[in-house]
Subunit: 146 residues, 10 copies
């Protein structure tokens, strides 16, 4: 089985049993964002999480090796087009230099890691329209001089 | 004066007086992220913020009209290259579909606005290496059927 | 079933029964533009519209879940080539800066939403050649300062 | 003088005298959209409109020949980035095939001209947020068989 | 049947019976260029031409609806590579600005339509090497001011 | 002097004396298309044509060497944007494969030269709207087998 | 059969019988470079060469029509990546302007034809490492003035 | 002085004294292709060649250090447009796979070096039209296994 | 069999028997980097290495000819996206000019060969986090003057 | 002063005094690769290194603030063209997947940091041609699950 096959199996079961990502992530004891990304094939499962997922969703046994595999992380288009994803790309374009100024003022010359990194999505209820809260949390890595 | 001229004037004064974006944003009573982006020419100032900025930095009087102007928001390359900015682009690439799944599960079919939108940067101290916390806060906009 | 499968089923039935988009949209009580876009898989159906469509076209029952799914909105080429679509792209290119000037003069700094958005197509009869009237109607969203 | 020089002169006078595009278009008796696009150098002036504009804005006499010149219509990036303009591009991407289906169902095989074409922008007041109305009006051109 | 299926059927029969585009276009009473383009799926047939083509080539009956369909006109690469086609692209690149100067000097500000358009190919015999004559014939469309 | 300097000088004199390309080409005894392209710097002048042009327009003497220089033929964008030029590009895209079929049916395997090549533009008056006639005339070059 | 099918058949037989391109080209009496390119589907066979090839390799009879067909010459990527092919591309990039200077100094304004063109590959033995000799031989085509 | 400054100085003197690349290369005792490329700034001069060139052309003394500098070899466009250079690019595209087959059949797995490389241009007189002979001569480099 | 088929067979056996690249490379007596690249189809096997690999992994006999074949070396995207590979691309972007300065200062004008080339990966244990050591070893090739 | 101004000043002094990068790096007590990259504006100086550099090269005092500034790291072209740099890009393309396999086999799922990273260049003398040794040394960063 390839990553894509396991992903399609998960989607089919999720649709059939009318599950949510929240329920799946609760069942394996991980966050909803990480769980979804790993089910989409963009992160490798830990052994424990894989076992729980297979049990919860009744996935075939040989999907375990696939869930543990290190993914090749790639995306389709250099500039994304789906409006939800494009808006995030636009934020990076419009505020990229700003974030560089502010992060480096607070931390020194370096970057926010996208590897030692977690992300969360929350809902803030608001009478004028609910708000989406996305929180990125990455380790600061200073540039090295040698 | 064009946006770029005012931006260069602000940078020169900031360097000369050894100011920080934090000090500048405190002086005008706005957040550090928004202030930096507006000084970089990516947002238009409110009249009040423009007046305070001009006073605090002793900018020339005719910079006011420029600060109030609506910017054309553009960026240099479709795929950013500076490592700090690229990591954010990579997050959008790797987690774009995940965010779409999670946000639409929580909110229904629609997007997070990048216009009715705010963003903050915080520092989380950590003995294993400090962490950068970036928080995006955008209004949820449901797609309309007609 | 995937979005594309339902779209192909709709096209086959439409061709076979010699239906028009106008007839289909009348049957489900929605506008012709929205109905066509949703049948093409670019918008998600409301439950009511999905039920009516399935009934009117005798679509298979399991197409309902697919019609309700949130689509990933993507298109094939960054610069469209079909002459009808290219002319619209050309209008955006030639008049983009003009629309920015005029809309922001009338409304302030902000954008026309493409999410809280409707569109209509009308025919204006004219002895020198009929005219196509396309009307875009989007909520104005002001940029936020914070 | 080149188109760009006249455009910059118009912008400087407009800013200095605090004029609006609406005032300028009223003064020359043309629509606001066309006037703005012609001032931005994307359309050629008629002799009458050029004379009125020069008189109203006190432009130099030799700007007339430039205003009458046929422009080369080009834009900076294949995919626009300013959020206001991008949303229009997105509409073309998301609804391009839909417009092709609907226009050709109503008119037959052919296109909406972007040359024999006019466009208007209106403001629709709405307590839930004002709405931008953009109306495209282009002659239908049927494909020729020979 | 899709456009591509009918095109492949036509090519197979043409090869099998050793027909030429000239013979096919004579049989349906249309020009060779238009006939070839319509057989390649780049133009829609008139009902009369479709009936004659189906009869002449013994195409299946259900190909008629497909021949009448409005095609989506797209091509593979932004810059063509086959040497015959590239040379035409090169002509547009090398002489594009020249044609703009000459056409607009003769006709005023506007364009040559590619929709209300016909094209012919002729052979000019020449002892130093025969010459290809390609004639483009398009309606002049003046830009509209409004 | 560089090609671009001579081109700008020619444009300035042409505008100043209100000349046309037709008048200039008559004065040097060459076709209007070739003359315009050579004045735009896309073809090298023959010595005779250069002498006549310099005399007719009172160009500086040292422009002669520049007029005789072999140009580097390049254009700005892979896909042209000005509507007049784009329509020609579109014709190549839509009819490229058709022209390959028709030319190679008439001449055998080979191409139409864009070097041993001439082009003309004519005006065909028509009560329903004048028509632009562009005629390409290129030597057929058969592929060589060796 | 399509070009690609015949190419695959030739490769299979060549591998199976352990033939070389040299042997195949000797058998059909053509050069190795042309023979290889024609077997790869990038040139059309003459009738005589096709007959000899079919006989030598025992290709199916209906491959003849395919071998005679005029190919559409296209390649996969605008910038080639295989190191052997990239080096040739690099030579064009590094020495392109040089070749233009030298060829036009020797021949006048014009180009080297890639159609009336032959190419050969030879091996020059050398104790310091054998050398590859590639010889391009194309007819000079002078630009035409008209 | 930068490479481009020395190149422009050489071109100016060459034009002024009506020199040829052949004369210049004879004067410095190197081939015409290498000399031209080095004068265009695409190769570094040996000390001896630099001294001879400076003497022959009366270049300023400080141009020597510039002539000796290692150039950064870059070109303007991924796909060249000038017809003479494009034809060479086309040869690489059309015959790239063929050259890979033939060179690797003759030499084994490896490439032709573009660094340990020379190139020559010759004129072959021919009553049917003179021919350009371009000879590439590069060391064969076998891939290493380790 | 094609390269991709043999690669897939190797991956399946490796996964099934839980082998490592290190074990496979030890079995055939070659380095781990070269072995992996050759198994991925990016290098051709020597006869000896192919025999050992087939024996060790029980590959089908006819895979030998495929392992010996010269690969076409291509990759999917001009800018890689997987984070591990992108970081290497970023190193080339950030340090490319630096490496040019340093290598050419140490060796003279020329390049590091990517053909006469070996590469190794080592693990350096470190309490603050283990470090990856990648060593590139390529022959210096001086540019030739002729 | 901007980064580019300081870089140009350093280059001018280095050329004038005939210094090497090795001498400069020795003078400031840092490695040659890091020193060169920082002088090229691709890394920020530590205060100590900046002081030493200014003293050693007699740079103007106000260059210090510029040397300390955090650079924006960008490069000119997505695919580099200078042969020395291209070969490194080619190594990433050809061996990218291999490095992913080998590094992740040795370290687990994660990447080699390009931030907590050093690089060295050495010369290995060899009678068959000296060899360039480039050593990359980056911290391994494991992906985080959350």
């Amino acid at each position: 089985m390839k990553k894509i096959d396991v992903t399609e199996a998960i989607f089919a079961i999720k649709k059939d049993r009318e599950l949510t990502w929240e329920a799946i992530s609760d069942a394996i004891g991980m966050s909803i964002v990480w769980t979804t990304s790993a089910c989409l094939g963009m992160n490798s499962f830990t052994e424990e999480a894989a076992d729980k997922l297979i049990k919860y969703l009744d996935l075939p046994v040989d999907s375990k090796a696939t869930l543990l595999e290190n993914p090749t992380k790639e995306w389709d288009k250099a500039v994304p087009q789906d409006p939800l994803i494009y808006r995030l790309y636009e934020v990076v374009g419009v505020y990229g230099d700003t974030l560089k100024e502010v992060i480096q003022e607070k931390f020194g010359d370096g970057i926010m890691s996208a590897i030692d990194f977690t992300m969360d999505v929350d809902k803030q209820e608001d009478p004028k329209g609910d708000r989406v809260i996305v929180t990125l949390n990455g380790k600061f890595l200073p540039y090295k001089a040698w």
